[in-house]
């Protein structure tokens, strides 16, 4: 029992990974694709939660970096390059650089100002993608004509096979999540939590709050950019609507739905989100209105989110019995 407690996270992670690896073998192709999208959007939501749940910064522009990553991959692959990994690296670097420039301005303010400013700059990126026709193809988007195949041990797999796409996305997402887990458990991650709790106190003991925030912002931007690159490969296309604030609301909603205080909350929220979307888009096209209608009761009655409330409930129960 002690052993289980000690390696709790590792055991959970291995179980989760085993589950995700097994999924495409037991599911129809359509659901494999949905699962791929859940992983990508979940990663975006987790990048958002590094800022919101850990650092206490509510960013409404995360879709901007996601979109920048998607366009970076699309532009890189349209030059004729056949390297998948370099395409993704382009997304990561583009996301990080954009986040560094915008973050440099944003981290000067916090709370509501941060939300307003990130929303503004996020929409600036949208405006650029939407109007700079020569670079981005305007509202038509930028298609990726030839998605390069995946090379594993000298064998080539086409990403047009949903199962191959799924495993490719799963491995990239797993690496990113592992990295994020290392980040939030590091001394640096604890400093971020300290910023959320009391930034004044932290600056009194000599920490550079702005630099810490900027670093968190750049990490979140790089992860969001990577997720965007994956999204571009998944759709074989980058479109401007993924930079719009309507899209930025998705990671926000997923995080709030799942629970912002929990590392895997956003991923859980993403799964619920897509489940709901499947149900609702069968009924109506106007999906945003339902997002709003779901968000209101969650904010008012379940501020911990669904997974958060669940875990909280289990913890209080076990405490009572022991």
């Amino acid at each position: 029992m002690e052993l289980v407690k000690k390696y709790k996270t590792a055991i959970c992670l291995i179980l989760a990974l085993a589950f995700f690896v097994a999924c495409p073998f037991g599911l129809p192709v359509y659901w494999t694709m949905i699962l791929t999208e859940i992983l990508i959007m979940g990663l975006l939501a987790m990048s958002f939660n590094l800022l919101f749940g850990y650092t206490g910064l509510l960013s409404f522009g995360q879709a901007g970096f996601f979109g920048v990553g998607a366009y970076a991959t699309a532009l890189f692959l349209s030059t004729g390059s056949t390297s998948l990994m370099l395409g993704l690296a382009a997304a990561l670097v583009a996301g990080a650089i954009t986040a560094a420039v915008i973050g440099f301005l944003c981290v000067r303010r916090d709370e509501i100002y941060f939300a307003m400013i990130t929303l503004g700059f996020g929409m600036m990126l949208y405006t650029v993608a939407h109007n700079w026709f020569d670079l981005t193809g305007g509202s038509d988007g930028l298609p990726v004509m030839n998605v390069p195949p995946l090379n594993v041990l000298g064998r080539q797999f086409s990403l047009f096979d949903p199962a191959v796409m799924y495993f490719f996305v799963l491995s990239v997402v797993a690496v990113c999540i592992f990295f994020l887990l290392r980040v939030v458990r590091s001394p640096f991650g604890l400093m971020l939590t300290a910023i959320r709790e009391n930034k004044q106190r932290l600056s009194f003991v000599g920490a550079g709050v702005q630099n810490l925030r900027l670093t968190a912002f750049v990490i979140a931007g790089a992860i969001a950019g990577t997720a965007g690159g994956l999204f571009c490969l998944f759709n074989a296309m980058a479109t401007p609507d993924i930079l719009h604030w309507g899209f930025s609301s998705r990671p926000v909603l997923m995080t709030v739905l799942g629970g912002s205080g929990i590392f895997f909350g956003p991923m859980f929220g993403a799964a619920i989100f897509f489940g709901l979307e499947q149900l609702i888009t069968d009924l109506t096209e106007n999906w945003m209105i339902f997002l709003g209608l779901i968000l209101i009761p969650v904010v008012i009655f379940f501020p911990r989110g669904i997974l958060g409330s669940l875990i909280h409930w289990i913890r209080t129960r076990t405490k009572r019995t022991s």
Partner: protein, 286 residues
């Protein structure tokens, strides 16, 4: 000279609309401490409701009276039923809540009135144009240039001199103290939120004959009014006025000198303010 005057008037009329929106945003924040993300949607709703009233009774003045009034009533409802439950919690919950309202209202407008454009004719009194040098310029824009500061000034006088205005300022400064001396703060909050919604909707109704109505009209104005209040200083009257004026003029003259790069102007302004004076021109906080 001619194009200078025309750009000046264009900039002033857009700036005054921005001023009305930012005023509502800044007042609600100053008193309730809530940043209303749905403020742009109230602006849009004001314009659409004004149009709807004019479909039934073709009078612009009735539309501009009833449209904003119904949005103010909606504001009362939202504050009473939803927003009230989140006071005292972390500020991000209020942001998320108003963001949810934004999503609902934007889609609701799209469902009710369709995604296309609508046009509202200005009233007979203010329609047509007058000759400015060699060109004709719409009278209605001049009306906005005059109406904006008038509404702003009367609101300022209300806050500065009237008994109610003083009560509101007292509650904004110290909520507990105000409650201690017998001010009914919850009621006051509802009233102020309604006032903010009314201001946004009034801006929308005034903008209706000035621009075409579309479900995305709230989007541009809310982002620009965020920029206005961040650069002017949140909660500051003169900040909202000068911020709106500067942004309106920059944008109008930007079209002349920058062409299509004009769309970057608001963001450049925001970046500049954040670099030079992160708390805004009139911001006071530490």
């Amino acid at each position: 000279m001619e194009s200078f005057v025309i750009n000046l008037l264009n900039g002033l009329s857009w700036g005054m609309l921005l001023f009305l929106i930012s005023l509502g945003l800044t007042t609600v924040f100053g008193v309730l401490g809530v940043l209303n993300f749905a403020h742009g949607s109230f602006f849009m709703l004001g314009a659409y409701l004004c149009m709807q009233v004019m479909h039934i009774i073709p009078s612009f003045w009735l539309g501009i009276l009833l449209g904003p009034l119904s949005v103010a009533l909606l504001g009362v409802l939202i504050e009473r039923v939803l927003l009230r439950r989140t006071y005292g919690r972390d500020i991000s919950f209020q942001l998320l809540l108003t963001f949810a309202i934004l999503l609902i209202l934007d889609d609701a407008v799209r469902i009710i009135w369709g995604p296309g454009y609508h046009v509202v004719e200005p009233p007979v009194l203010l329609s047509g144009g007058f000759t400015l040098f060699t060109r004709t310029y719409p009278v209605y824009r001049l009306f906005i240039v005059v109406a904006g500061p008038l509404i702003g000034l009367s609101l300022w006088a209300f806050f500065q001199f009237s008994r109610w205005g003083k009560i509101i300022r007292a509650a904004a400064m110290d909520r507990e103290m105000a409650e201690g001396i017998g001010i009914r703060v919850p009621l006051l909050f509802t009233a102020v939120f309604a006032l903010g919604s009314w201001l946004a909707a009034m801006g929308g109704a005034l903008a209706a004959p000035h621009q075409s109505l579309a479900p995305s009209m709230g989007e541009r104005i809310i982002i620009e009014s965020f920029i206005v209040v961040v650069s002017g200083g949140m909660g500051s009257f003169p900040g909202a006025f000068f911020g709106a004026l500067i942004l309106g003029l920059f944008e109008s003259f930007g079209t002349v000198f920058l062409g299509s790069a004009q769309m970057a102007v608001p963001y450049i302004l925001l970046a500049a303010v954040l670099l030079i004076r992160p708390h805004g021109f009139f911001g006071r906080e530490v």
